[in-house]
């Protein structure tokens, strides 16, 4: 009897770990020329559109100086370059415009007043009709302690507002709420500010005897001598009609008038008279005569216009109307290119029958899908990073002469560039998952474009009813475009917080989470179907 020795191949046993699958998928991606070209195209289209927008958005009177062939109506005397917007203590652009009835206060002290009335009036016309009495929810009047009368200087203030009750506000972005309800002669509001070193504390009261603290803030570096007194201001009244195909914004200046009495002070104040100043009078959009104050005995009537608030940029708003988001406008086009590549990364396997070889070589189908997702996600991330960085850096370079660009601090730019790359990467994985589910390129790409790209495209022109775009940008994967929102939305500033101005209904990371949730569900479904179905 001869013992039969089982046959052993001399060939080394093949390794089929995850690393090998990853390497195999990377090789597939790298060696298809069209896919690599598609990714490069995504970068070029996104960055190219950004540069075009930056160039076309530039103030025509500036571009004509650089000898550009295309010229708009030249505005003679319009300032080229950045107009000087004041910056607040936090570095943000602010609006610091109000009527100030003031006296110097040396050292610690306090001021208390009673407000008996606040009324708003519109200026200018709305659709050809003169604007009369008007309800301005964020008209403000009250008492303020401020580091001088320079625009953008530190302050803390207690105020009554047109529609938001008593507020304490400080350094433009700070806001705390006090007594609710409107002010009237029947229900007056008492306000008090006390200064102790750098700390300013605000109180309110309905009767002048029972006081409640509204807030207490430290204004770093507040000098010993400050300006303190009464103020009134009233922001523009914006009506924005968003009907399909037509978006019209009307911004009408308004003035508000407040009546103060029972003015009492503690601390070192000069006994002399009060000084009335219109802060930032040169940019006030109402006639100089329509603001001011008059005093009858101990009763003050102060009328002002403007706002003490962070400046809001973007289309149809007060501030510079070009934001960093506009340079990234081409993201949708780059996303289409990336989605096409991601879709074909899977559907080409089915079309060529390669999927049978792939699954024979690595029978663990979930791992194949994971490897594909990692490869396409990484490639898309790199492409998205290059596209966003290119669009922002070159776009800013091109538009730096334009008068209407909203400057952003570099951490914001970095967050938006990285966020855009993450958006593109996760969207590519979503496209891959959908392609795995439906297996046909045409259907897959249509689904991807409809759920990710179209909601973003619809929100770009101010035209679709705000309710519809709001809803789309909350529930569809396009919610992740919120990553491109440059500036925070302020509750206490009325503005056009719409996508075309760079404001999204969800917070940046919440929006991204919506996209990630969609992608997770799609990937799980794709993995399930890939396992269950014949290839």
């Amino acid at each position: 009897m001869t013992a039969i020795t089982p046959y052993h191949s001399a060939a080394q046993e093949a390794r089929d770990g995850f690393g090998q699958i990853l390497h195999a998928e990377w090789t597939k991606f790298r060696t298809v020329r069209g896919w690599v070209i598609g990714m490069i195209l995504a970068v070029l289209v996104t960055a190219g559109l950004g540069v075009f927008v930056a160039k076309a958005a530039a103030n025509p009177s500036c571009s004509s100086q650089s000898g550009s062939g295309q010229q708009g109506p030249v505005q003679h005397g319009a300032a080229c370059g950045q107009p000087v917007y004041p910056r607040g203590p936090g570095g943000e652009l602010v609006k610091d415009q109000f009527y100030f009835v003031r006296q110097p206060l040396a050292g610690n002290g306090s001021i208390t007043v009673r407000v008996t009335s606040l009324t708003g009036r519109g200026r200018g016309t709305d659709n050809g009709q003169p604007v009369g009495a008007i309800f301005v929810p964020w008209s403000k009047a009250g008492i303020i302690i401020k580091d001088g009368t320079g625009k953008g200087s530190a302050y803390a203030a207690m105020m009554v507002t047109g529609g938001n009750g008593v507020r304490m506000q400080w350094n433009y972005t700070g806001d705390a709420s006090g007594l609710p309800g409107a002010v009237s002669a029947a229900s007056p509001r008492w306000l008090r500010l006390t200064r102790d070193g750098d700390t300013i504390t605000g109180y309110d009261s309905a009767d002048g005897t029972h006081w409640t603290q509204v807030g207490s803030v430290a204004l770093a570096g507040l000098p010993s001598a400050v300006q303190a007194g009464l103020f009134a201001t009233s922001p523009q009244h914006s009506t924005y009609s968003s009907s399909l195909g037509v978006g019209n914004g009307f911004n009408n200046p308004t003035v508000s008038t407040a009546v103060f009495d029972h003015v009492s002070r503690t601390g070192t104040w000069p006994a002399g008279t009060w000084t009335g100043d219109a802060v930032d009078a040169e940019d006030m959009q109402v006639a100089p005569g329509s603001v001011g104050y008059h005093q009858v005995a101990r009763r003050f009537t102060v009328t002002g216009s403007g706002d003490i608030a962070p400046l809001i940029g973007g289309a149809l708003n007060d501030g510079p109307n070009i934001t960093i988001r506009d340079y990234l406008l081409g993201t949708f086009a780059g996303l289409i290119a990336v989605a096409v590549v991601a879709t074909m990364f899977m559907t080409a396997e089915y079309r060529r029958g390669l999927i049978r070889t792939t699954l024979a070589a690595s029978p663990n189908r979930g791992r194949v899908l994971a490897a594909k997702a990692i490869v396409i996600g990484s490639a898309a991330f790199v492409a998205g990073l290059a596209a966003a960085a290119g669009a922002v850096i070159i776009g800013e370079d091109v538009a730096h002469t334009a008068s209407s660009v909203f400057p952003e601090p570099w951490p914001t730019e970095l967050r938006i560039i990285a966020g855009t790359a993450a958006l593109v990467a996760v969207a590519a994985v979503l496209a891959l998952a959908i392609a795995t589910m439906v297996r046909r390129s045409a259907t897959a790409i249509l689904i991807v474009i409809v759920i990710i790209v179209i909601p973003d495209v619809l929100s770009a022109p101010p035209g679709i009813p705000a309710g519809v775009t709001d809803w789309l940008l909350r529930v569809t994967p396009a919610a992740a475009f919120a990553l491109q929102q440059p500036a925070p939305q302020y509750y206490q500033v009325q503005a056009n917080y719409i996508p075309s101005s760079g404001f999204y209904p969800l917070a940046p990371w919440t929006g991204f989470a919506v996209l990630c949730a969609w992608t997770a569900i799609a990937l799980a479904t794709a993995a399930y179907l890939l396992r269950r179905r014949d290839a």
């Binding site: 559109l49 076309a56 295309q70 009506t239 399909l244 406008l329 897959a444 179209i454 009813p465 309710g467």
Partner: protein
């Protein structure tokens, strides 16, 4: 009386090609569903836009005809898919080689495909567009679109009565718009063959102009971009109010889209004629 075999085949070549292409289109399950989808999406989006529209107290800014035809902007995406699949579907299965063996005259094949796709989209559009106008007529008066609210009057008292000249032009034009989008997509698909690439290119081309125009501050550039964009210019055909403020007249706008479609078809035809299948 006899016809030579060659003469007979030449005479019947066109109709036979048409018949063969029709059989292919008819028997693919997706064609019917996509056509139904076009109608459903167009009408649904139009009705949603009508329902979401409001007239602010200052008066309506929206053009009711344009508003009630909003769905065309969504329906065009599916129309593009129908047209792309008519061509690239053959490439993905290798069917194209059989087609061209049986019918070697490539331009005739392309012409037959274009005729049939245009006909199908014309039929779908002829259902979707009147239904959208009807939906607008039912919904819009409930949202303040009446003469009493100071809406600029159309030529006859009830807004959106289909007897209106401009509204009729907007409706017929919208159907033609969809047909031209189909032809544009067919040309692009013939040129690039791959369905995903073709759909990406067509939708990118359509949407890039309105998106870029929305942020361009320079009025001249804005006007030029709107004039040359296939979607922006083509949709002027839906305008019934403020015609004088449009950069082009409605029919000129549709003409721009027709030029795009013709250009895409010519490039597609040239590539199709001279490239290996």
């Amino acid at each position: 009386m006899t016809l030579s075999a060659a003469g007979l085949s030449r005479a019947r070549c066109g109709s036979q090609t048409l018949h063969a292409e029709w059989t292919k289109l008819r028997t693919v399950a997706s064609t019917g569903w996509l056509l139904l989808g076009t109608i459903a999406l167009t009408v649904a989006v139009s009705a949603t836009a009508d329902a979401a529209a409001t007239c602010p107290s200052g008066g309506c800014q929206a053009d009711p005809a344009k508003l009630s035809l909003t769905g065309v902007q969504a329906g065009q995406a599916i129309v593009a898919v129908i047209a792309v699949l008519a061509v690239s579907g053959e490439y993905s299965t290798g069917m194209i080689r059989i087609t061209l063996t049986a019918m070697p005259r490539r331009l005739t094949v392309l012409a037959a495909k274009a005729t049939l796709v245009a006909g199908l989209v014309l039929a779908a559009g002829s259902v979707a567009v009147p239904a959208s106008v009807l939906a607008g007529r039912l919904i819009l008066p409930g949202h303040g679109f009446t003469l009493a609210d100071g809406y600029p009057p159309l030529t006859s008292p009830p807004p959106l009565s289909s007897g209106d000249g401009p509204v009729l032009r907007a409706a017929i034009g919208s159907v033609l718009y969809l047909v031209l989008i189909a032809l544009l997509s067919l040309g692009v698909a013939t040129a690039v063959r791959e369905s995903a690439v073709a759909i990406g290119l067509v939708l990118g081309l359509l949407y890039v102009f309105p998106v870029v125009t929305s942020v361009v501050g320079n009025q001249h550039w804005q006007r030029h971009l709107e004039q040359i964009g296939p979607m922006t210019a083509g949709l002027y055909i839906q305008a019934t109010a403020n015609l004088s403020s449009l950069p082009l007249t409605p029919w000129e706008g549709l003409g721009v889209l027709a030029l795009w479609a013709a250009g895409a078809l010519i490039i597609g035809a040239l590539i199709f004629r001279f490239r290996d299948a």
